[in-house]
Assembly symmetry: C2
Homo-oligomer: 414 residues x 2
């Protein structure tokens, strides 16, 4: 099946927003094995939209239109498509009631201009929109499929997932099952190299995405039943486990901070952190997980030497002899934090985030990451200089990964 995406919206042509709808839909279609051949954006202009839709229908089997479904006069996608297809518009009584109820629940008046949102080309399947006022619709005509979706991603994404995807999968008579695997500590190109032919597999499919400091693998199988799809995924999952083993942070789409919080809770352990160069990033990543308070006790951002001594008990002698950016300072920070907080584990970071402050001995990007726990303290040295923000983020994730490995008993013996 050949498909293309035709987006309607002057805000795209003015650069106010990026066309993330096209990206989302392309990923989803690709996963279903449907090729996407064109993305096109036109403004809120009926003439240019009609010309472009004519072109699209001449070369593709599936055309997904996004945007231009709202209540204002320049929202003309449905009207233009209906005219081109020679279909009159009808008012849908059910969607009218949904619209009226929605406005009533918001305590707002439903002005007449809103009613244009509940007119659809004759013969359409209506796609409900619980996240906005404009439903979408799906039309089959002359062997072509035309899907019309609202522009805002928080309306479009669930509408596609809940209605369009099952429809398209249903045409092949099957179900889809996806797994999102988070991998940390291997670059995307190295990962692609190791995965080799798996990336060309058609069922299950496999794709890599750059995540929030990690890489996400998305494995998807299509089959007649969910059980069969799971069965089809198994060899790919086995290969991923063999290739990336200890680097796999989660098989369930979770990011590092959530995985660490879950592991701490499971082990009945707690954590505190003492941060210099990461400056609150580790604490903030943990606090971002709702309900973290039972395992995250506290953090200190000891940016100055004075704070390192006063808050954590780092020795003046250590700072003088080895410097603030050193293995012994990182060790004392972690051990001091563990002692003063009473947490099971303490993480610490100290380093030169850059862009200034580097020397020959201690270049920008040199960062020590320490973990103190019941079995002792370990310190890792990290040397990787990118931007200040990337150096900091990398060190924060390395610290959390060190704790994850400790909690999963993957670190070497002390």
């Amino acid at each position: 099946m050949r498909s293309e995406i035709l987006s309607v919206g002057t805000e795209l042509l003015m650069g106010q927003i990026a066309n993330t709808d096209a990206q989302f839909l392309s990923r989803e279609l690709r996963e279903m094995g449907i090729g996407v051949y064109y993305h096109t954006v036109v403004g809120d202009n009926p003439g240019r939209l009609k010309a472009q839709l004519t072109e699209a229908l001449s070369r593709s089997d599936l055309v997904i239109l996004t945007g231009g479904l709202g209540p204002t006069p320049d929202d003309l996608t449905k009207e233009t498509a209906a005219e081109l297809l020679g279909l009159p518009l009808f008012e849908d009584a059910h969607e009218k009631q949904v619209l009226l109820d929605r406005f009533e629940s918001m305590g707002r008046e439903c002005t007449p201009n809103n009613f244009k949102q509940i007119f659809f080309p004759e013969g359409s399947t209506i796609l409900p929109n619980p996240n906005g006022t404009a439903p979408g619709c799906l039309i089959e005509k002359d062997g072509k499929i035309i899907v019309i979706l609202p522009g805002p991603p928080r309306e479009l994404n669930p509408m596609f997932t809940d209605y369009v995807k099952p429809y398209l999968v249903g045409r092949t008579g099957g179900v889809m099952l996806s797994r999102f695997i988070h991998v940390y500590g291997i670059g995307e190109s190295a990962m692609a190299y190791r995965l080799g032919e798996w990336l060309n597999s058609t069922n299950p499919t496999l794709a890599t995405y750059v995540g929030n400091g990690d890489i996400i693998l998305r494995a998807t199988a299509t089959a007649a039943t969910k059980e069969e799809a799971a069965f089809q995924l198994a060899p790919m999952e086995q290969a991923i486990q063999t290739l990336f083993g200890e680097n796999i942070v989660s098989w369930e789409g979770k990011e590092m901070p959530e995985v660490v919080i879950d592991l701490l809770r499971m082990r009945g352990s707690t954590v505190a952190c003492a941060e210099s160069c990461t400056g609150g990033m580790i604490a903030s990543a943990l606090v971002d997980i709702p309900g973290c308070s039972d395992v995250f006790l506290e953090g200190c951002v000891t940016y100055s030497n004075e704070a390192k001594m006063r808050r954590l008990g780092v020795k003046a002698e250590t700072l003088e002899r080895y410097g603030a950016v050193s293995e012994p300072t990182a060790r004392e920070m972690a051990e001091g934090m563990r002692a003063t907080s009473g947490a099971t584990y303490a993480l610490a970071t100290t380093g030169i985030a850059g862009p200034g402050g580097g020397t020959v001995d201690k270049p920008v990007g040199l960062i020590y990451v320490a973990l103190a726990g019941p079995k002792g303290t370990r310190v890792i040295e990290r040397r990787s200089n990118r931007s200040r923000a990337q150096n900091r983020r990398g060190a924060a994730l390395d610290a959390l990964d060190l704790l994850r490995r400790e909690l999963e008993c993957l670190n070497e013996e002390y």
Copy 2:
């Protein structure tokens, strides 16, 4: 002048990346008063690219092609454009040397496939690429302008800004001057409403963008000289000052944390922070600014009651009587942090970030933000419930804004 953007890349059609190049170019062109009528994406396929480029040249005066300039065999943008325009390709000796020097400086071998990057359609103006290996080019033919740019944004953006923009502005015989004004504490739609007709002004132009928690106004004038452009901007700047006054964080494109760091340095003051619900976000935002160490002393993430008492000296009685999320606790956290750190100012936050943990009296989104300084302590109550991350970010920015206003003497008298 009618323009359009034609992007080449299978990675766009597979949804691996969003078309941020089209967004960037559209903003830039709009600012220059050049209308953008279409965005199109095609894959690395010469036939479809040729058909689309033919179409684009038939309807637009300026066609900007992005992507497909690399060293691999499927990078065919220049070759396809040259063929369509009937222009032979020539090897550029200068760019060849630049390429060889680049590989030598990286200590890598320049394999033969790289040389395709230094062939250009005859008559092109070459656009140097200091950020990558593939230069761009600009061709004028039969009254049309064709600009060919590399796909990666960190190569495309500076190449457009440094070479294409001056060329396009130069065709009108002028210079452009832009100002980026950061405004905090007013929503984008309220701002647009207040700005009214200023948003329709054609020279200078004015556009609003959602920033990192703030709104960015971009005011741009085109004139024969820089001085004249500045003169043209003046009434618009005056209007912005009158409309948004104290909410203006920066006239020079700076974000809140940098503005606060600059103000502290100017006043010879220092800051420390005690964070509960923001959990290190304030500290992390400050530490993100290089060279912050002379004004940022330290931070404590006192998530537990125990840490609030031990690290900051918050009284057990206060926590018991008013609760951790209360005006008195926020006050004691800030005052305790100021006393223990020795900083001129201390910021504190405590609140219910959600999604759980709310009650009728203290709903999710209730956050207290405190500032302790030489003149006393002030506490603001914030009630705004969005996502956990947004509640936390909003509170962190409110705290920094409170300090900014204090340092700019905008807060009411104590």
